[in-house]
């Protein structure tokens, strides 16, 4: 398999005797930043621990840079894999200073290059001058960046990040996710992040694998996941949206509660079949000049914009984005208009 750093082939895993990962396969390209996104308990952390070597496989193989890390019969010990890991609880050694933490994995390096690597990394994570501090003297964000530097220090072939930002507050979380992305991109380390927070995943990853019930639902770029979900689960897990009933009325057209809508490409459904149409709040936008009106039934002020909930004349409630300054009262009739580039249609079950 050319041009692949990490290969996971047909892997099954159990946790507490329950099967949590079922015949899962995926690959990461060199220098790619991947992400496993899924609700808690979907098995994504167990998969990460299997790659690191803390969990044995029930089936399948894991390869890294043409080297077999693990199969059902062969398991390379964690310390020999060249895989770095950043932990959810940060796990800095409390008895060692920042510099000692970072150089912990540099056994066998000459003193001078060890020191050079430490200062290079402190520069990279934006914390130069904190070498002699101890972990408990750092803020949560600083600790997490040191943990990242520690994992990067021995130049691992793959870096695993297990919900590394979940202990931090929301603002910091998103900022740190983009920062870490920049740091890893500049170092060119192939990485895999595990998270249940789609915003964090969008900030971090080149490609995201949405995991549900032990397998990958979709492995795509953030843009595609949001706008072209291939399953109802992915559609609803990645950002807000509503399902409405619709009927196929042409190769590219559906009849929906919002009227006849057309797609830019062919829809793969027979004429007349009943379908579910998935609409995101950005598909329906507020426009005072529109002739089409809906009743405002709920509003969430998000600062830069409003997320409105509007009820159409036929009783269906949809999300709708509105500019920040358009502050309407609940119960008011407001003008809405459609802004759909691509129809998301699923079969009815």
């Amino acid at each position: 398999m050319d041009n692949a750093a990490l290969i996971i082939r047909d892997v099954s895993l159990t946790y507490d005797k329950t099967a949590v990962i079922k015949n899962l396969s995926m690959t990461l390209k060199p220098q790619e930043l991947g992400c496993l996104l899924g609700p808690s308990g979907c098995g994504k952390s167990t998969l990460l621990r299997a790659i690191a070597g803390f969990q044995s496989l029930n089936s399948g193989e894991i390869w890294l840079d043409d080297q077999l890390l693990a199969s059902t019969t062969q398991t390379m010990p964690p310390e020999a894999r060249g895989v770095g890991m950043v932990f959810q609880d940060i796990a800095l050694f409390p008895h060692l200073s920042v510099a000692e933490n970072i150089e912990f994995g540099l056994t066998g390096w000459p003193e001078s290059s060890r020191r050079a690597r430490v200062s290079e990394l402190l520069q990279l994570i934006g914390l130069p001058g904190l070498e002699s501090r101890y972990p408990h003297e750092l803020s949560g964000g600083q600790q997490q960046r040191v943990a990242l530097a520690r994992a990067m220090a021995p130049k691992p072939n793959l870096l695993l990040l297990d919900e590394p930002f979940s202990g931090l507050d929301t603002e910091l979380r998103s900022r740190l996710a983009s920062e870490v992305r920049t740091i890893l991109k500049s170092d060119g380390i192939c990485s895999l992040l595990v998270t249940h927070d789609q915003r964090e995943a969008f900030d971090f990853a080149d490609r995201i694998a949405v995991i549900h019930d032990g397998h990958i639902c979709q492995f795509d770029t953030p843009y595609q996941l949001y706008h072209e979900p291939t399953s109802p689960f992915v559609a609803q897990f990645v950002g807000p949206g509503e399902m409405v009933d619709a009927v196929i009325v042409g190769p590219r057209a559906v009849d929906s509660p919002l009227g006849i809508l057309t797609n830019d490409t062919d829809l793969e459904f027979a004429n007349g079949s009943l379908v579910k149409l998935f609409l995101r709040p950005d598909d329906l936008i507020h426009d005072d000049d529109s002739d089409y009106h809906a009743t405002l039934v709920g509003k969430h002020f998000r600062g830069a914009h409003h997320l409105y909930e509007v009820r159409l004349d036929n009783g269906i409630v949809l999300g709708c984005f509105a500019p920040s300054h358009h502050n309407h009262a609940i119960g008011e009739k407001i003008g809405v208009t459609l802004d759909i580039e691509h129809l998301v249609v699923f079969p009815t079950h």
């Binding site: 690191a52 310390e79 796990a91 409390p94």
Partner: protein, 518 residues
């Protein structure tokens, strides 16, 4: 409460008596040297018994592990002096072991150490065998407290199992091991029964000898003050390491699945490492005590002594816990810096050797006795002991020494009742007394009973303070065992010893329950 400490400390700077000059010239160096050497040997002993055992129990699974994990605590029930009496009883020249060895022509190098049991290394061995559970407990807690993620982080950084132990596990457990060792050393410095019986001249025996042998109270008090400064150093170090224990343990994912299953010869090694201390620290001496008691004891003579002991220990421990409750509630209702400092000071009592407290109580009390006698003499009243040499003095000494034990339990019980509980009680219509009755009493019952139990056992074991302060002809179990052992009637000493050990088991069992619950 702080009176005895203040009195003893006062003598650190007092003028020199004649005997003190003599002491300082000749004996002080010997006492200090022996105490230090004994402490050093005990430190080595408790660490080399306690740490490997804690290591095996924490990181490996093997047959018998769960049983051994609490059997290892049992030697805590033994006061070191009882262990010393028991082993001397079975190992002396005419005893069964040496007789058998002579008959089977055992080599001299094997018999010599047994013959020399009554020596400083022998005392260190006895003390180590009963004190290692402090290190075992603290080390085990520290090992179990370590985050599995820290070890995994070290593995992902390319470290081997051995290197993870060396660079992560041991450094992080070091403060806990130090704290356990320091606790053991405090007990070592406080020990009187063992060193006295083995003829090792340490501070405690020196103090008693100066007081009784030379009749020099001031010299004894000055020796006490030197011993006290040793203890204060230990207390300071112990507090420091406890502080570090706290900041090393955080809310990380705990070690559970990480323990390794072992079997075969490796399991046997682990079992042996854990079983030997239990065997020598509990099983062998207890079997001997039971055997001697069952076949040789005259139990009827023991009734009065047992009654004395139980009434004294029971009454004192209830009183101590009552005082502890008052201190705790004073702290809760009227919190102030001054009060909390005072509480810490009172807590020092437990670190003080019983001998030091006895001296600290005897001196001011006999001064008061003299004063009262002088006042009453004109009225034809013969001089008498009003305070010293009464039960009151003894109970007072117990309160000073063991208040800290009760405080620990009562404070932790009370701190679990968060103020918000009081507040909700009041908001739901209870008066202050009502809150006390329907919230505090039921919630505090466990910790209060525990405090009474632990004090009870500690008082039962306490030897030097009891010997020095008891009223004339008032014997307790510990005193009886001490007296019989002093007359070389070691087999007769078995019955009172066994009683002390059996009662001493109660808090150990309770301790194990509370540890395993965590």
């Amino acid at each position: 409460m702080a009176l005895p400490i203040a009195v003893v400390l006062g003598f650190l700077f007092a003028g020199e008596s004649e005997v003190w000059a003599h002491l300082a010239d000749t004996l002080l160096a010997r006492y200090a040297g022996n105490s230090l050497l004994l402490s050093l040997l005990v430190a080595v002993g408790v660490i080399s018994i306690g740490v490997p055992a804690a290591w095996m129990i924490s990181f490996y699974r093997f047959p018998g592990r769960d049983l051994l994990s609490w059997l290892l605590l049992l030697p805590l029930a033994y006061p070191a002096y009882i262990l010393a009496y028991t082993y001397t009883g079975v190992l002396d020249y005419a005893g069964p072991v040496l007789t058998w060895m002579r008959e089977s022509n055992a080599p001299d190098w094997l018999m010599a150490p047994i013959l020399n049991l009554k020596s400083l290394p022998g005392a260190a061995l006895m003390l180590s065998l009963v004190l290692y559970p402090y290190v075992y407990l603290m080390a085990r807690a520290a090992f179990l407290d370590q985050s599995a993620n820290l070890m995994e982080a070290a593995y992902t950084l390319g470290q081997t199992r051995w290197s993870v132990f060396r660079r992560v596990v041991i450094p992080m457990a070091r403060p806990a091991i130090a704290a356990g060792t320091l606790l053991a050393l405090m007990e070592t410095l406080a020990d009187f029964g063992t060193v006295q019986f083995f003829g090792v001249q340490t501070f405690t025996t020196g103090i008693v000898r100066t007081y009784y042998g030379f009749g020099d109270a001031v010299g004894a008090a000055q020796l006490s003050s030197v011993l006290l400064s040793f203890v204060v150093v230990l207390v300071v170090f112990e507090r420091l390491s406890r502080y570090r224990v706290r900041y090393y343990s955080d809310r990380l994912r705990k070690l559970n699945q990480a323990s390794l299953h072992i079997s075969g010869s490796r399991a046997l090694l682990a079992q042996t490492l854990c079983f030997l201390p239990v065997c020598f620290g509990f099983l062998i001496p207890t079997s001997l005590l039971v055997y001697w008691t069952a076949f040789f004891a005259e139990l009827q003579s023991l009734w009065a002594v047992t009654l004395n002991s139980f009434v004294l220990a029971g009454g004192s421990s209830v009183l101590i816990v009552a005082v502890a409750l008052m201190v705790a509630y004073a702290n809760r209702l009227y919190p102030s810096k001054w009060l909390s400092h005072l509480t810490v000071l009172v807590g020092l009592g437990y670190a003080l050797p019983g001998v030091v407290i006895a001296i600290g109580v005897l001196l001011p009390f006999s001064a008061i006795d003299h004063w009262i006698s002088d006042r009453l003499q004109p009225f034809g009243v013969a001089p008498s002991l009003y305070l010293s040499g009464t039960i009151f003095a003894l109970v007072f000494a117990y309160v000073v020494r063991f208040l800290a034990v009760a405080n620990g339990n009562v404070f932790s019980g009370l701190s679990r009742i968060r103020p918000s509980l009081d507040h909700s009680g009041r908001l739901l219509g209870l008066s202050q007394m009502g809150v006390l009755k329907s919230i505090h009493v039921p919630l505090m019952r466990g910790s209060v009973l525990t405090a009474i139990l632990v004090c009870f056992v500690d008082i039962l074991k306490e030897l030097p303070a009891t010997i020095m302060l008891r009223p004339f002809n008032f014997d307790t179990l510990a005193v009886k065992a001490y007296a019989l052992a002093g007359e070389e009637r070691l087999i007769d000493a078995a019955a009172p010893s066994l009683l002390i050990v059996l009662v001493g088991l109660l808090p150990v069992i309770w301790l194990n329950r509370s540890v395993s619950k965590e």
